[in-house]
């Protein structure tokens, strides 16, 4: 996870496969950040999850928001986008962590009255996500192409 209030910063997260990148940005105070989490629920890891809460959606997403708040961002002004959650090609969804990662983010945002401004999830392709902190521009690249979020 990285949160920045420096307008010149570009935050990048690479190699999003089934992982999810959540980018948030407050245009008023020009604060933004990205969380890259791997797994949906910290409960699968018992007490050890406390060692690395950013690995999980349910514990990482609140920490991303809290860090942005510390820099002056407010919930009302935050624009939220997400990308990733690619899926294994399979006859069932047993190994489909990408889908479960997507569902947990949507659930959390829904419960907390946070609108997802844009998302690009699923499929099989890898993604790299970018956030330009000064301009608040969010996009991702995948297999050589750029897509705005």
């Amino acid at each position: 996870m990285k949160v920045s209030a420096s307008p010149g910063d570009v935050i990048v997260t690479h190699a999003l496969g089934s992982c999810i990148g959540v980018a948030i940005h407050d245009a008023t105070v020009r604060v933004g950040g990205i969380l890259h989490y791997m797994l949906p629920l910290s409960s699968v890891d018992g007490t050890k999850a406390e060692l690395n809460p950013l690995m999980f959606g349910d514990t990482g997403i609140p920490l991303l928001f809290e860090e942005a708040y510390k820099h002056g961002a407010t919930k009302e002004n935050l624009r939220v986008v997400m990308a990733g959650g690619a899926q294994v090609f399979a006859d069932n969804d047993f190994f489909d962590i990408g889908k479960r990662n997507t569902v947990i983010a949507r659930k959390l945002f829904w419960k907390n009255n946070v609108l997802i401004a844009a998302e690009n999830v699923g499929g099989h392709a890898p993604r790299t996500m970018y956030l330009e902190v000064g301009a608040g521009v969010t996009y991702f690249t995948s297999r050589g192409e750029r897509f705005e979020l």
């Binding site: 890891d45 294994v88 090609f89 047993f94 990408g98 993604r127």
Partner: protein
Amino acid sequence: MTLMERIMRMIDELSPLPATAPRLAEALADPGASVGDIAAMIEYDQALTLDILKYANSAAFASSRTIATVKDAVIRLGGARILERVVGRHVKGSLCPPLASYGYAEEDLWRHSVAAAVAAEELGTFTKQASSGLSFTAALLHDIGKLVLTRAAPLESMEMVFKLVFADSRTHTCEEAERDIFGFSHADIGASIALSWNLPETIVEAIRRHHSADPACGPVTDAVRVANIAARSIGEGIGREGMSLSADAGLSLRVNITREQFEALCAHTRRRLQTVMTMFDR
């Protein structure tokens, strides 16, 4: 020279595994082999003896008692751990360089291989089944064929592989696209490498069939299949393929884990990866 001839020549030119490695692997596959048998194989190799004694006394296995004999080192480390160290140190240099065709930067393939190896080993703790001492090594080597394929095949052919994957990754995983373009895949090449290193059939089969949907494979092959998905699921080895790999419907039943256990397996693997990578440092 045909592509196949180029590949076979490259396999011949790979530096051979230390002679002790295949013998150790055979012993691990043999339930009758004793600690004494394994120690005798190691004592035969002076460089390995020194390395294993040093390793057994390293901080990773810290204990108040100094290990002075190979037999005690085998008891402390276990035969599987010794095989893993021998094979891992041997292939680390080959698996570290970038593989542009697959979109791997420096160390990406190595990290993916170690992550899969850790996951294959961890799987045993979730299934409560006796894990084969060969799962770690088989998973460590599962993608070694990519190394040779990417060097032997013309760049434009590798691009055709990814064109197929990009066009429709529902119908073409990377491995299937390689088969369409070349008639064989990195899995076949990896199996040929393992064969040329005289590794046991269990490892050869696990490498050859780690992408196959055929349910009639042994537990080591299934462990490598699950481990490969787990390694990708923690973001190791994503490259240009992303999550374009397949899992057959019965795989989870055969390895006997739940969804939650698979996710816990991923978390454990992520946590242990960095520590295990130091196991291969010189």
